[in-house]
Amino acid sequence: MQQFWVVKRLTNYESRVRSVFLSDHVYQQVVVLMPKLRRFAYGLSGSVENADDLIQEACTRLLSCMSEVEGYLERWLYRTIRNLHIDQVRRMAVKSRCHDDLAGRQPASTDGNLQVESLITLRQVRDLIGELPEDQRVTLLLVGVEGYSYREASELLGLPIGTVTSRVARARQKLTDAIYPNHDRETEDLGEHHGSGSI
């Protein structure tokens, strides 16, 4: 019996030391990752408030399972944020049907005319990303916006690399089709108009 207590006390001590070490480690990692996580959550949810809510919920869950995510923190955070967002979207879908398919649609905010590429705003691009199917949007945000490699993105999302590459390709095709509906035209001046963007 005494041995049992010794073992238990040692185990508790080890757990406490481990917890102290890990939390420091985890806090640092979370803070340093936070800009990326916020951009990711913002790109997913479309609003700063929703983005912060998603990350806050992820951080709250992290508190209760800190030791289990050692070595997997980054992917755990990304997946948790993605899953929380998907749960949220599904709940909302009960009330109003979610439109996922961008193909064949013109953005409502542009009077159906995005052919004047020079007038496109930062907001319109973000709206278009928001209209991508969830799986494509998640992948595009990681690869196209954050610059993760295909391998890193596949590890973060738990997907085969081939799936990542095809999702990136489909997402880009939809975006370029929406912004450049006339593929026969050269459109060199879009990049010159960042200044006209709006939040």
């Binding site: 936070m34 800009p35 980054e74 590459t165």
Partner: protein
């Protein structure tokens, strides 16, 4: 690397291969081969340009969140994570003796967009002039903050003022963090008194080069 063998092609190049080229996923030989094809394949080269433009805009658009302070709730969650450290448990870091004894101060405005955007609302020349002076002052504060982040230990509080004495700032590195790619980042607090207005901000800034720090996260922001 293994690529998705999609049938779809852009111009004469398989779509997945072209995207892998855009993302720098190909080896030098494969990349050179694609570049050679792009010289004569107008549809594929147009697609590459379009993707770069669209994603440049996407980065700029989504990156705007960097300049927006995190919510109070998220700040509290981060703090709860930090307090797990135990050694400092029970004391919120902004209530530490260093900061509690600090004179109220300053600001900042992480420069870039906010200053520019606010200028849009100025309706007369006088205000525009004042705004220009303010932007310059804030830029000076930003330079001062860069130096503080570069050279001052955490917990130290540095007072700064411009030549006219119109702008006063109190700059404090709070702690130093290291990212997985071994970049240094520092949490900081800055209080700026400018023309009688007090602005306070806590944030995270990461080192880009010598005396070159970029604010990547605003933890609190207010007057």
């Amino acid at each position: 690397m293994a690529l998705d063998q999609s049938e779809r092609r852009i111009g004469g190049i398989e779509a997945s291969l072209l995207n892998a080229y855009i993302d720098g996923e190909l080896g030098p030989e494969q990349a050179s081969e694609i570049e050679r094809q792009l010289e004569t394949d107008s549809a594929a080269s147009r697609y590459v340009r379009q993707v770069h433009r669209v994603e440049g805009l996407a980065k700029a658009s989504i990156g705007q969140v960097d300049y927006m302070a995190i919510s109070r709730g998220l700040g509290d969650s981060l703090e709860a994570l930090r307090l797990h450290q135990g050694s400092q448990a029970g004391q919120r870091w902004w209530q530490s003796p260093y900061l509690a004894s600090a004179a109220s101060v300053v600001l900042l405005l992480v420069g870039y967009s906010t200053g520019f955007l606010s200028a849009e609302y100025r309706i007369n020349q006088q205000m525009a002039v004042l705004e220009a002076a303010r932007s310059q002052s804030l830029e000076e504060v930003r330079v001062a903050l860069n130096r503080v982040l570069e050279y001052s230990p955490s917990g130290e509080q540095i007072s700064w003022q411009d030549e006219t004495g119109r702008v006063v700032a109190e700059l404090s590195p709070i702690r130093t963090l290291k990212s997985r790619d071994q970049r240094f980042c520092r949490e900081f607090r800055e209080v700026v008194l400018i023309d009688g207005t007090r602005e306070e901000r806590r944030g995270l800034s990461c080192r880009q080069g010598k005396e070159d720090w970029r604010t990547q996260l605003i933890l609190t922001d207010g007057t």
